[in-house]
């Protein structure tokens, strides 16, 4: 089964917040939507879930056109940033509510909830209220609820944004195991590019309600189609040299090399990041970021050089790639 969006759009007050958006996600594929805040990535997710109405285009789950169906009839499993657990119900009751509303019999409910609680390793927390759980545990309850939905499509809206960095790394493999192994199309929204690169089969970079580029993570990184994409992916951020002939040249920090001659630079400041160090340089081409070995003792003045093949060129007006 494939999730398919065809030129989907939504307008608020005569402004398109999602415009002419098309993509398809095959089963066992995870598409990650990234972009600056307010770019329309969460709105896209809400359109797929049926929480908001499309004013344009069609949404299909396989052969089924769901564009005008209410969320209850779409069978999507959705995980929210704030987990959206009901504070006055226990973990068990939170999981049970949806099943109950959908008319699942009581023995069946109990069997499925036990099974899912084992899966997310929360069997001993069944009778606790969400307020008694840690952030990671709440997140797993939210995942369990989405899994209980027997969903056609999984939608995850910044599921890890409320967790600290360490917990995120722990939960990522778990999330992959629980959701991605279901073999259903998954759409994942995040603003964290590390998370995007880690989870995605494909990444769609969104800006102003439109897809700027959609591709595999590696291809996006190596072949950005615009300055926006090049700057959005990759940390430390890509270096832009002084514009020449209405063209912007950009080079990744890891592609800069030291040499005996080349562009003369002055060291402004340095950040030691453990396994690498980040150097901030000043040159006639403007400020540069550069990655170096952690043990490297950087002199006050130095020369850097780079291979011309590693340089991306963008049109200064449109920001589109020219070579």
């Amino acid at each position: 089964m494939t999730l398919e969006l065809q030129s989907v759009g939504r307008q608020i007050n005569a402004k398109w917040i999602v415009h002419d958006l098309s993509f398809s996600v095959k089963q066992d594929e995870c598409l990650v939507l990234v972009g600056p805040s307010g770019c329309g990535k969460s709105s896209t997710l809400r359109l797929i879930a049926g929480l908001d109405r499309c004013q344009q285009g069609t949404i299909k789950f396989g052969n089924r056109d769901v564009t005008h169906l209410p969320p209850s009839e779409r069978a999507v499993g959705m995980v929210f940033q704030s987990y959206a657990l009901l504070p006055h119900l226990t973990v068990y009751e939170n999981l049970e509510l949806g099943l109950r509303i959908r008319g699942v019999r009581i023995e069946e409910r109990s069997r499925r909830i036990q099974h899912i609680l084992d899966l997310v390793q929360l069997a001993d927390r069944a009778n606790h209220r969400p307020s008694a759980l840690s952030g990671g545990q709440r997140q797993r309850v939210a995942l369990a609820r989405a899994l209980l939905r027997n969903a056609m499509v999984y939608l995850l809206d910044e599921p890890m944004s409320n967790l600290d960095a360490q917990l995120r790394e722990q939960i990522r493999p778990e999330l992959r195991r629980l959701i991605l192994d279901q073999g259903k199309p998954t759409v994942y929204v995040t603003h964290d590019q590390n998370e995007a690169l880690a989870m995605a089969n494909k990444i769609a970079i969104i800006n102003n309600g439109e897809i700027v580029q959609l591709d595999t993570p590696i291809h996006l990184y190596n072949n950005p189609n615009s300055l926006f994409v090049a700057q959005f992916l990759g940390r430390p951020q890509i270096n832009c040299l002084k514009p020449r002939d209405h063209q912007i040249q950009a080079i990744r920090p890891e592609d800069l090399k030291f040499s005996e001659s080349g562009l003369p630079c002055r060291l402004v400041s340095r950040e030691w990041l453990g396994n690498t160090q980040l150097l901030y340089l000043e040159s006639a081409e403007g400020g540069l970021r550069m990655v170096a070995e952690p043990s490297f003792q950087c002199p006050e003045r130095l020369f850097v050089t780079w291979q011309q093949s590693k340089v991306f060129r963008f049109d200064a007006k449109t920001g589109l790639r020219t070579s």
Partner: protein, 271 residues
């Protein structure tokens, strides 16, 4: 510290003195009331309470009438105001602000001025002398306050809870049952008590809509004692009735002090 204790005592004296005087009056013989500074043998009596309880119709009937109208009006108000408040919280800012301004305007309206037209409505639709019907104007007049209070409570519910419930397949009625009503219980309690107090205490409409003695609400029944004759009000019996009538309200205020305070104050914050 001394100053604070003194102020508290002063506050309590100010608030409770008139009631305590009623209490004193209700247990005093008529003779004692007329000459309070003379010592006499039969100073205290339960006669006033006896006469109130054995009056025809019995005093408790008025309490029951008021209770009935109060509860009915409160329930009706909530049934109508809850969906309206939900709707208000889902509207765009401009629209909901416009509606809020209309509601504040209605809440500020000195509703006493409406009694004549309401009386005409009651006559045209034969709603007079009917306690069920009396709850209707109370319900209507309570809407502004109830919608404003509940509306601000609805906006405090995180929208993602709503979204998650819709994805799970909960209909609007399901969401009221499982999410809004449990989560808004404190605000609903505050609103309910304020509406109940208003209905229990309301005078001009009850005065004009109800004339049958057996259907009077407490405030009108009490005022009738005053109106019966300007010069010789049976103050002893009246004080006994006041004490009996005040007890349920005093209990209500003690038990529900928190929701009353939070209801009034959150109304203030909302402006």
């Amino acid at each position: 510290m001394k100053l604070k204790s003194a102020s508290i005592i002063l506050l309590l004296a100010w608030s409770l003195a008139p009631l305590l005087w009623q209490l004193y009056t209700s247990f005093s013989t008529d003779q004692a009331l007329v000459t309070p500074f003379e010592t006499m043998a039969n100073r205290w009596t339960l006669e006033h309470y006896r006469s109130v309880i054995s009056a025809n119709p019995p005093f408790f009937l008025y309490l029951i009438n008021s209770l009935f109208v109060g509860i009915l009006a409160t329930l009706l108000t909530l049934i109508i105001a809850l969906p309206a408040a939900y709707s208000l919280s889902k509207l765009s800012t401009t629209k909901s602000n416009l509606i809020r301004i209309i509601l504040v305007g209605c809440a500020l309206f000195p509703y006493v001025l409406l009694f004549l037209a309401l009386l005409e409505i009651a006559r045209a639709l034969s709603l007079g002398n009917n306690l069920f019907a009396l709850a209707l104007p109370y319900t209507a007049l309570s809407q502004p306050l109830a919608i404003l209070l509940l509306g601000s409570a609805f906006t405090s519910i995180p929208p993602e809870l709503d979204d998650a419930a819709r994805v799970e397949g909960l209909t609007l009625i399901n969401r009221f049952r499982w999410i809004y009503i449990p989560l808004l219980a404190p605000a609903i309690a505050s609103t309910a008590i304020l509406v109940f107090l208003f209905s229990w205490n309301e005078y001009p409409i009850a005065l004009t809509w109800i004339s049958e003695t057996s259907k009077l609400t407490l405030p009108v029944a009490m005022a009738r004692i005053a109106g019966s004759s300007i010069h010789s009000v049976p103050y002893g019996a009246y004080a006994a009735a006041t004490v009996l009538g005040a007890i349920p309200l005093i209990l209500l205020v003690i038990v529900f002090q928190k929701p009353i305070v939070s209801g009034l104050t959150s109304g203030a914050v909302k402006g």
